[in-house]
Subunit: 280 residues, 4 copies
C-alpha cells in the first residue's frame, strides 16, 4: 500500500469516530434499518423496532442507486425529512447515502454519517466533496475493488481534511451465484493491519440471503469487525427494494441477543490471551 500517507496504519493509532452515544473503533456499533425510506409509517415503525432491539444508528436510503432507471429511485428530500423525524423520536443518529457531489452540502444537514455506496467508491468528485465536510463517511468497498484501491479512496477523503472515514465491506463479485456477492471477511483483519480506520461489515448486501445474515454477523464479530450495517424492515414482504433480504424486527432482535454477548466474550478472550502471552 505504497501510496498511502494519511490512511496508513503506520501513521497513527486506531481512529475513534464518535456518533451520538457510540464510537466506531471503540464500541461494537450496530446500524440497522430499511434499504430505502418508503414512507413515514414504514421508517418510524422500523426505527422504533431497531431501537428497541438495541441498534445504535438508523440506516435508510433517500437516494437509491438502481440498476435500471425505471426502478424506484428513493424519496429524496422527503426521505431525509422522514429520517429526521425518526431520529427525533428515537434518538438514533442517521446514516444515509449521498450520490451526487452537488447534494453533499444539503444532505449533510440531515445525516449524521454520509454513506458512499459500492458503485461510487471511485467517484472521485464525490469523495473529494465529502472530504470537505467533517461528517463521518461510511465508505463501502467497491464490489470489484482490491483493498489497495479501497484504501486509496479513503485517502481521497482524508487528504481533503476529513479524518472520519469508516470502511464497510459489503461483498465482492465472484463466479459464485448462490450468494449475491462473496463476503470477504478476511478483509477485516487485513484492513486492521493496513490502516487505523474502523471497519464494519454489511452482511445483507454481501450474502443477499436471509438465512446467512445471522451467522455472518456473528462471524464478523469474531473476526474483529467494529460493527455491522444490517437491513431491517418492519414488513419485508412489502419492501420496495431488497424485499427478500431484510430481517424482520423479530429476527433482528434475536440476532442482537447474540451479538452483544459474543462481542464481549471475544474481547475478554483476546484480553486473556494477550495477558497470558505477556505473563509468559
Amino acid at each position: 500500500m505504497k501510496n498511502l500517507k494519511l490512511a496508513s496504519r503506520a501513521t497513527q493509532e486506531q481512529t475513534i469516530i464518535t456518533v451520538g452515544d457510540v464510537a466506531f473503533g471503540r464500541d461494537f456499533v450496530v446500524m440497522a434499518g430499511p434499504c430505502s425510506v418508503e414512507s413515514e409509517h414504514q421508517t418510524l415503525e422500523t426505527a422504533r423496532a431497531v431501537k428497541a432491539a438495541g441498534a445504535d444508528i438508523l440506516r435508510g436510503g433517500a437516494f437509491k442507486p438502481r440498476t435500471s432507471p425505471y426502478s424506484f429511485q428513493g424519496l429524496g428530500l422527503q426521505g431525509l425529512k422522514i429520517l429526521d423525524k425518526a431520529r427525533k423520536e428515537t434518538g438514533l443518529p442517521i446514516v444515509t447515502e449521498v450520490l451526487d457531489p452537488r447534494d453533499v452540502s444539503w444532505v449533510a444537514e440531515y445525516a449524521d454519517i454520509l454513506q458512499i455506496g459500492t458503485r461510487n467508491m471511485q467517484n472521485f468528485s464525490l469523495l473529494k466533496e465529502v472530504g470537505t465536510t467533517q461528517l463521518p463517511v461510511l465508505l463501502k468497498r467497491g464490489m470489484f475493488s482490491t483493498l489497495d484501491e479501497w484504501l486509496n479512496c479513503a485517502e481521497y477523503i482524508l487528504s481533503e481534511g476529513n479524518p472520519n472515514v469508516i470502511l464497510c465491506e459489503r461483498g465482492i463479485r465472484t463466479f459464485e451465484n448462490y450468494t449475491r456477492n462473496t463476503l470477504d471477511l478476511s478483509a477485516v483483519p487485513a484492513i486492521k493491519e493496513l490502516t487505523h480506520l474502523p471497519i464494519v461489515i454489511d452482511p445483507t448486501h454481501s450474502t443477499g440471503k436471509l438465512s446467512l445474515i445471522a451467522p455472518m454477523s456473528l462471524a464478523a464479530v469474531a473476526a474483529g469487525a467494529d460493527g455491522l450495517l444490517i437491513e431491517v424492515h418492519h414488513n419485508p414482504a412489502q419492501a420496495l427494494c431488497d424485499a427478500d433480504q431484510a430481517l424482520t424486527p423479530a429476527l433482528f432482535e434475536e440476532l442482537m441477543q447474540q451479538l452483544r454477548p459474543l462481542h464481549a466474550y471475544v474481547q475478554k478472550l483476546a484480553h486473556e490471551t494477550t495477558k497470558n502471552i505477556v505473563t509468559d
Copy 2:
C-alpha cells in the same frame, strides 16, 4: 435484458452516430491519442501523427480518474483548450472524459464525444447529466459489470433524451494477471444481438500490454466491432500515465495499414456469405 426499453435491439434498427466525417454504426471508426493531455507540444505532436496514420478522432484526457489522490489528475480546462487547438489544426473531433456532473455543461463546449469512464459507469448522476445533452457519449463498460448492467446504464442516458450512446468494452476484472484486465471480445456479438447501439473496443486498457494491442485490434475487427479506442503517445517513455502501454506513432501506423483492409475484407466476406445463403 427485461428492463430495457429504449436500448433494446427490439426497438429499432442500428443506431448511426455521426461525428465529423465518420459515423459509428456505419464506418469502422478509429479513435487514437494520448491517455492524458500533458502539454500542447505532446498533444499536437501526437494528434498530427494519428491524423497522418488515418485516425478519425482524437482521444485525450483532461480529467484523469486515478487510484491515488497524489497521482497526476489531468490539466482540466487547460487540457481542454489544448485539445481544442489540436482539433483546429488537424480537423480531428475530440473524445474526452468527464468525471463530475457539474462539469458536463462546460466540458461539452470542448468535446465532440463525452467519455464516461469504467469507474463511473454506474455514476447515475453523471449519466443523467450527459443524458440531458445531445452530444455523443462513449460509455465504457464497468470493469466489474455484466452486459445487463451496462445496457441499463445506456438506458439511463437514453431515457433522459440523448439517443447517441456508443458502448466501449475495455476489459473486465478476472483472476488472470498476465494482462491488466481480460478483454471480453464476445461482448461485441452479444451486444449486437441485445441492442442497436454501436460498440467499440479499447485494446489498450483491457490488455495493458503493448504486444497484445495489434492482435486484439485485428480480432475486434473480425468480431464485428464498430471501432477502436487506442492510446498513442508521441513519446511513450515520457508519458505521465500508462507509459508502458501507449503505441508509438510508428506502431500505430503499422497497425492502421492492416485495420482498414481487414475491415473491408471482413465486410466483403460477410456480404458474400449472406448472398450465398439467400441464393440457396
Copy 3:
C-alpha cells in the same frame, strides 16, 4: 441443487463421522500439521506440538500437487510411513492427500481420512475410487467451484457407497491479491442448509497470510463450521512448501486457547437463543 439425491439436506439428519476420539458433525475438530511430510524429525516434532496444543488429527502431505513439475512433489510411501510413526507415537489419526486413483487402495492403509485437493475436486475417476472405500474423505472445494458443483462432487463419492464425506472450504479465486484466495465463510451456513455433510475451514490456504489465520479461525467457529484444517510447522522458515503461512507451535497453541472456549460459548449462545424462542 436439483440433481442431489444423497447429499441433499432433505434426505437425512446431520451426518456424524467418527475419527479416533472425535466426530465431525458433533465436535469441533481441529486438524493440524505440516503442508508436506519432509522428514521424520520435522513430522514428529510438529505432531508432538499440535498434540500438546490440543489438535485432534494430524495433517501432512506425502503427495504434493505442485504448479511446477520441478518443485518438491512429496516423499510418497516414505512420507506415509513417517505419518504412521507419528500416529503411533501421538495417537493422532492422519489426514493425507491422495492424487491418483491407482494409489487409493494402498494410501488407504495408512490414512484415517483421505483428502481430495482443490485441483482434483472434479477428478471424477479419483472421486469414484475413494467412493469405493469406507474411509472418511475430506473433499476440498475447487478454488473455482460453485457450491452446486462441489456438492455434486460429494454426490459422486456418496453414490459409490461411501457416506463419509467432510467438506472443506479453502478459499476461492478472485481478483483480490492481498490474500492468496478469498475465504468464502458464507459457504458454512449455505452448506448447512443445502446438505447434511459436515464442513470445515482451511484458514491457511485461503488467506495465505500468517496474520489472518487466527481471526479467520475464530470467525469460522462463529459461523458454525465443524472444524479447521491448519498448517503448523515446527520450524516454518525451513519448510519446503508454504513456508510463509505455517503457524509456529507457539502461535498454534495461542490460537487453540481461544478456539475451544469460543466454540463452547457460541454453542451455549445458540442454545439459549433457541430456548428463548421456544419459550416465547
Copy 4:
C-alpha cells in the same frame, strides 16, 4: 514464467505437430464434431458433414466429465470404436478426451490426439501419463487458470518426454453470466510470446451461445490462433449434452466458407506489413 524450461519461448522455434494431412503450428486446423459420441448413426452422420465442410479432424467424447454423477457419462470403449469407424470412413483423425491415467494406454490406441479437459488441467497424474506417450495432447486451459499455471501443466507433459502439446483456450470463469464462460482471446498472442507451442480456440464451450460461435471463430483467426475446436451435431436438438450450443452442419459449412479465406487474408496482410517494415 520463471519455472518453464521446455515450454518456454526462449528454448526453440515454433513447435509443429503433424496429425494426418495437417500440422498444428503451420496450418489453420479445424477440429469439429459432437460433444459426445452417442451412437454410430449420430457420429458417422456428423463426421461426414464436417468432412464435407472442410474440417481436418473429428472431435468426439467417449468419456464425459459431468457435473452430476447421474448425467450421461459417455459410451466408453464402445464410443472409441465408433470413432474408429468414422475415421476409417472419412479419413479424419480423431481427438478424444481421456480422464483417468489408467485409461491412457488403451485410449491411445484409438486416438490421434488425446484431450485433457479443463477440469483435469492440473490432474498431474494424468499429465505425467500422457507425457509418457508420443501422441499429440490437446491441453485445455483450466477455467480458473492463469497462463503461468497452464504452461506449467504443459511442462509436466513435456518433461516426461512428449513434446507434442497443443494448447486450447476454452474460456475462463468470471462474473459475467450472459456467456457460459469468458473467452480470453488475448491468451492467443500472450501464449505466442511465452511459448513455442501451438494454441487453438474452443468457441463453443467458452461462449456457450450459438450466435457467438461464428464471430468468435473469425476473431480467433484474426488474433493469430492456430486452429479451432468446434462442436457440430447432425441434429443438435437431440444431443445428449450441450444441445443448445452445437452448430448444425449447415451453420458449420457457412462458417467454414469464411474461416479459410479469412485465414489466408490475415496471413497475407501480416506478410505484407512485415515486408513493408523490412523495406523501410
